[in-house]
């Protein structure tokens, strides 16, 4: 029913209005490239200063972040470790809960349950992150502090938990879409061969929906890496190497948000913050490329049978 391929045949191409309209929509589409290059140019041109000053490798492998000391040190490894720690915790929570609930909605829920749960999950995906941050600050952090008997609850663990919960609706919603679109015939074939529901789901449905699930996980990962407000409010803002998950950390995003206001215009500090932005951009760009690669590979492997 859908137009898989656009109608290529261009009628009345001589007509000026037709041409102008094509040019208009082409330009609209080109704005995406304009904005992307705008982001790349603005971020990288501002961070050239710091890359020349400390060198790119030293910048990302330096172990001390002391922008306000004299001499200032700009090493973002502790910040990267902070991001990694928080993201790993988030993924440990987000992936099982997200994929698990997606399987439940797509495979086990009754139609009416599904009708209710599906929009609810979409709604939850839209909750602003600052509200999650508020929740983490006021409820989760004190709870973590008292439960593990810590001096402060603003830790990598708290931020990771909140981020994990935040990614559940994202992962769940997309995974559910791809699970639901697995053809009925595959399930029926498995059941007819004597597989039970669990075996069908684990051996047939999930592998068939693999590309969608992986995409959703990468999207959730991107969200967790790039999320600013939650980590700014909950992670404890301490730019040092975390000894364990019970210590405060400061991921890259929240460093930018927290220090940009204090850094003097045009200083090395500002450039270093843009440098962090550049590193974040590289991470997301890589994950986009990886996603596209995975998608195209899975398409090739499975062909068009599914």
């Amino acid at each position: 029913m859908s137009a898989d391929r656009p109608l290529r045949k261009i009628t009345a191409w001589k007509n000026t209005t037709e041409k102008l309209f094509f040019i208009l929509v082409l330009f609209a589409a080109l704005t995406a490239i304009v904005f992307l290059s705008g982001i790349i140019i603005s971020i990288f041109s501002q961070s050239i200063q710091i890359f020349q000053h400390t060198g790119f490798w030293k910048f990302i492998s330096g172990t001390a972040w002391h922008p306000d000391q004299d001499p200032a040190e700009y090493g973002i490894l502790p910040l990267i470790i902070g991001t990694v720690t928080v993201t790993i915790i988030a993924m440990l929570i987000g992936i099982p809960l997200g994929v698990g609930s997606a399987v439940y909605i797509a495979e086990l829920a009754k139609p009416r349950e599904r009708e209710f749960l599906k929009p609810v999950i979409e709604l939850l995906a839209g909750i602003p992150s600052v509200i999650f941050g508020l929740f983490g600050m006021v409820y989760l952090a004190p709870f973590v502090a008292s439960f593990f008997n810590l001096p402060t609850g603003m830790t990598a663990l708290s931020a990771g938990i909140i981020l994990g919960i935040m990614t559940v609706p994202i992962i769940s919603s997309l995974s559910e879409d791809s699970l639901y679109s697995v053809p009925r015939s595959l399930r029926e074939a498995s059941l007819a061969l004597g597989g039970n529901k669990w075996e069908t789901i684990v051996n047939i449905v999930i592998p068939a929906a693999k590309s969608g699930i992986i995409t959703s996980i990468i999207l959730g990962f991107g969200r967790a890496v790039g999320e600013t407000m939650v980590v700014l409010m909950v992670a404890g803002n301490s730019p040092v190497f975390p000894k364990n998950i019970f210590t405060p950390v400061r991921p890259m995003t929240s460093t930018i948000a927290a220090e940009m206001g204090e850094a003097p215009m045009g200083s090395m500090h500002v450039s270093a913050l843009f440098g962090i932005g550049a590193v974040l951009f590289i991470i997301t760009f890589t994950s986009v490329i990886v996603t596209e690669y995975i998608r195209s590979r899975i398409k090739k492997n499975t062909g068009n049978s599914i």
């Binding site: 109608l7 971020i43 698990g100 909750i127 509200i131 999207l219 999320e227 948000a257």
Partner: protein
Amino acid sequence: MNRKYSVRKIKEKLGLLLFRAAIVISGIFLVMFAVMIILRGGSVFIKTCAVNEIADNYRLRNVIIKNGVIIDNKKYDLSINGKIIKGLLKKGMASDIEIKDDIINEMKILNLQADRIENSYARINTGKSAIDTGNPELLKNIQFCIIEGAAAELVEASEYIMSGGVEITKIKTNLVFTGGFLENISIKNGIIRKMKLVKPLRRFSLHFIFASPEAGMTAGGIFPALIGTFYLTIMAMLLAFPIGVLAAIYLNEYAWPPRAVQIIRTAINTLAGVPSIVYGLFGMAVFVNFLAFQVSILSGALTLAVLVLPIIINASEEALKTVPREMREASLGLGATKRQMIMTVVLPAALPNILTGAIIAVGRAAGETAPILFTAAAFYFPGLPESIFSPCMALPYQIYALMTEGTARVQTSIAYGASIVLLLLVLAINSSAIILRGIIRKKRQW
């Protein structure tokens, strides 16, 4: 055979239980989340007013009255966050009043617009300036009314420890009234002559939504922040929506030349994945500094527009894809040009779905904080913005700023109130999109 079967069965049961557990756990957490936010923040919507009495004589010794409102003994009209005060102090909310040995040692008056301070000895702190008036002898016939959220307490304590000037960490109580507030206390020679314990009568009030913040964000409402968010979102959508829809038309209807399409698609996917704080940096570098729009609504709206653009493009493209090929063919067959086909057949057919996507983008733009941190947001900018070149307050930023930069306790409850408003706003926007989509699916003819 039989045994193997039962092991399989158990494995299946356990496995399926896992999936069920996943959704139950996520559900519990998210419900808990919503309930807690609403429980905490609900208080800002409750207007406290009052009835009922206790009258007695008590000697005032080491009494701490927290967050009181000084009012006239005859006429009063209370509203939460202390707005209307008549009599001795006009329009002031007294907080952190400490009375020790019959003398008010310290009293903070928030939002002071007092035209007359008399019959009182108080050191009044209004933010930075301190006013010293009166003499201790005149502490007579002063009327106190206390509200602290809904429940206030008058504590007559023989022992107490103060920390930070306000907090009571240890208290040995002789008398505690809670769940009510006190009014018409008249103190003469250090003895409470008259006192009324009033049980609060609570009423729902929208004052919080339609009032400006007062007293350095410790009282009042969130109206400017709401308006700021409204401006930012609407402007961002006005900029991004036409571009997004046109770009989607290009990708789905023309898709030529193929090489360009591929590059544009990669660009859109990348844009969709860029962290919002990087958008903030981009907005700061380009709109605020390079184009010299300063920190303004315009800069913020442009930044948000770039942020929601990929969302709108993707949603519009999906919408265009659902228009069946037959409709296009019919249109072309009747002699329409490609542009005419798109404008008169494809676009109207896809419009409801496009709008659904756009509404979701509105919800996203309204809730984003990081992109407006350096481009548009001001912590305290009361009154409504005059032009698109002035900074504005914004709801999500307000919540963050109140929680991290604020000092006073009351600010936490304002932050909660603001987050309820934001949450309801975003949920309303998104659910309208979902409902709209449901209607479209039911009505669809093809």
